[in-house]
Amino acid sequence: MAKKIEPRVPMPEQSPKERIRNFNEVPYGYTPEMAKKEASRCLQCKKPKCVSGCPVEINIPSFIGLVKEGDFGGAIKKIKETNLLPAICGRVCPQETQCEEVCVLAKNGQPVAIGRLERFCADWERSLGEEKISLPKCAPPTGKKVAVVGAGPAGLTVASDLAKLGHKVTIFEALHKPGGVLVYGIPEFRLPKEIVFAEVRILQKLGVELITNYIVGKTETVDELLERYDAVFIGTGAGAPAFMRIPGENLGGIYSANEYLTRSNLMKAYLFPETDTPIHRGKVVAVIGGGNVAMDSARTALRLGAERVLLIYRRTREEMPARAEEVHHAEEEGVEFHFLTNPVRYHGDEKGNVKEMECLKMRLGEPDSSGRPRPVPIENSNFRLSVDTVIVAIGNLANPIVPKSTPNLTVNKNGNIVADEDGRTSREGVFAGGDIVTGAATVISAMGAGRRAARAIHSYIMEKSSR
């Protein structure tokens, strides 16, 4: 490589001081000039490594080439050949461990900003106005009907792919809004909800029917759906919060991240009292955990007016599973990191609200099953922190409503539905994918699972009818 490599074009964003007082999106996104400049950094590799890093194999060099030429319309078309939700993936994909990690320029620490470019193209298209967005072509109606359970990224992908193949798709969603974690979990400042709703409207234009307020397993069972539909896809996510089961964990002011984020995002509690759902605006907030969910909770707490937000993680910075960019943003915004620390009990005041958190110091021991060093408690290292709010963000488990109400649907010991690569479960005609199968993972992997399942569902229902 003779040519000197230019540094990545930075993406302008709200300053930390300003943004911790609002819920608006942090980055502003590239301008067309910035996008073209960044696109020109791509080497247009003959054997592009980046593509193999993308779970849905976007033709990255090709779309970036079009951006460089200023053909943004062509670029977004190219992206959409394989990725249904580019505005979302461009924002929330952990690019640093996927496409950008394997980009040849990553060796210099400056891979092409693939995610930012993807996001730019999608935003550019949206800025034209929703009427102008060209709808993909749908095959003539097949007369087949498929029920999709859950309107998260997995379910939305299945629905879109099957609609394009000419099938009649109905999505059943438990909550009053579609989007899954994209809407109830990931905060507005990382992913504006309007983007998700716009994508859902496009799906509806393709003829997909969306029924919210419908809990499969309660309102209607999978078996009942099978009487009305040719196949059922289950994309119910990993939506059951884990708690540590330590004394005092049910005191007032102690939330699961799911509850805290749902109140803030889905119910818009940050606008209270303009909206009706309350949320506790704590002064000193402790967040337990080291993943994306913990970062989102910590940054939400700051925006809700916390004076101090303490992030409590039992290992060290190196083992934190959160995206680098999110950790960086959290740090810039003033989140205080307490590593090698683990809560062991909570102490409450006379009203039953949390007042203090008792912690133990930890050290790193031998690697555990995840390959990361096991945190080992240091005896008698107990100390207390004064807090008035705690957000437990130590992980999510599979929600049991569908498995419990569906006889002979095999689940593993964690309660996840057992499915093969193409989403086939132990029940004929029942497919599953996304977090309900893999456990909490990523948006793009849920979409990938949805895509494979859609193919399998298509061949299943077409074969069945020719039998």
């Binding site: 809990i215 049910n250 909206t275």
Partner: protein, 281 residues
């Protein structure tokens, strides 16, 4: 008819309303002990209400609610023909219904509403039923007629003595026991404090006691953990594991404290909601 449309609205007592809502898929599935979660309008909160009755033929469910804050106030402002924004259910684990023998059903205040469908199912299963209905004062007593129609015997108490006996439901239960009544099961639904005292008494008598808990909820599907309650020292999610539990195992103080957590904010939104003068009728 439109989804979630109010097809009938009645005033039951000062602050209590009965609404019939068009929701065929819920009406079809509902079993005693289950509830729904609703939102009145786009900026509104999700609140749980018990399905007090259902008619699967007409596709209608009945809700009975007491106006205590912003959401219940807004709900009471809806007129026949208006629609709820959202309605989902039926949620929660249905009551385990069998022939227990002689069942005493204790209902306090608005708790008589969730008690009604359970009593109805117990009656159909062939149980002998004694009802103890309590209210602060006569005008707040609801569903007396409906309950009497199901019960083998109905006893009433009011705090101020304006109707039935003066006193609280536990006094009546004590007397039932003293007169030698054979009791196989007690079901108590009402304010947490009432259920707590009923359970303290029935623990002395060693009478199995079922209660229905009403913690604060958000999604109602086991996703958030807002509805955590402690049963025999173990944490349970009332929306999926309950709402009914063995009353002798419930940590009542925890429930009551958690119910008060948002009191200040609730006052603020209630005051704002009342400014909307659509009127209750």
């Amino acid at each position: 008819m439109k989804a979630f449309q109010v097809v009938k609205k009645e005033h039951l007592s000062e602050q209590v309303w009965r609404m019939k809502i068009f929701a065929p898929h819920i009406a079809k599935k509902h079993k005693a002990g289950q509830f729904v979660i609703l939102r009145v309008e786009e900026k509104g909160e999700r609140i749980p209400l018990t399905v007090a009755d259902s008619d699967s033929k007409a596709g209608v469910i009945t809700l009975i609610f007491q106006v205590v804050g912003a959401t219940t106030h807004k709900l009471s402002c809806l007129k026949e023909g208006d629609c709820l924004r959202d309605l989902v259910g039926p949620l929660g684990t249905p009551t385990h219904i069998e022939k227990y023998g002689s069942v005493v059903a204790v209902g306090g205040g608005i708790g008589i509403a969730p008690l009604y469908p359970i009593v109805k199912a117990l009656k159909a299963a062939g149980n002998r039923l004694i009802g103890i209905l309590g209210a602060r004062t006569k005008s707040l007593l609801i569903l007396e007629e409906e309950m009497r129609a199901l019960m083998d015997e109905t006893l009433i108490s009011t705090d101020d003595g304006s109707y039935g006996e003066r006193g609280v439901v536990t006094d009546v239960l004590k007397r039932l026991k003293e007169r030698g009544e054979k009791i196989d099961l007690v079901i108590a639904i009402g304010p947490a404090i009432m259920m707590k005292f009923v359970c303290a008494l029935t623990a002395e008598y060693k009478l199995p006691t079922l209660v229905s808990l009403n913690p604060i909820m958000v999604d109602g599907t086991g996703m958030c953990g807002a509805c955590r309650v402690e049963i025999g020292g173990e944490t349970k999610f009332a929306c999926v594991d309950g709402p009914e539990f063995d009353g002798h195992k419930v940590n009542w103080d925890l429930l009551m404290k958690r119910l008060r957590f948002y009191n200040e904010q609730e006052k603020v939104s209630y005051e704002l909601a009342k400014k909307c003068t659509c009127g209750g009728d």
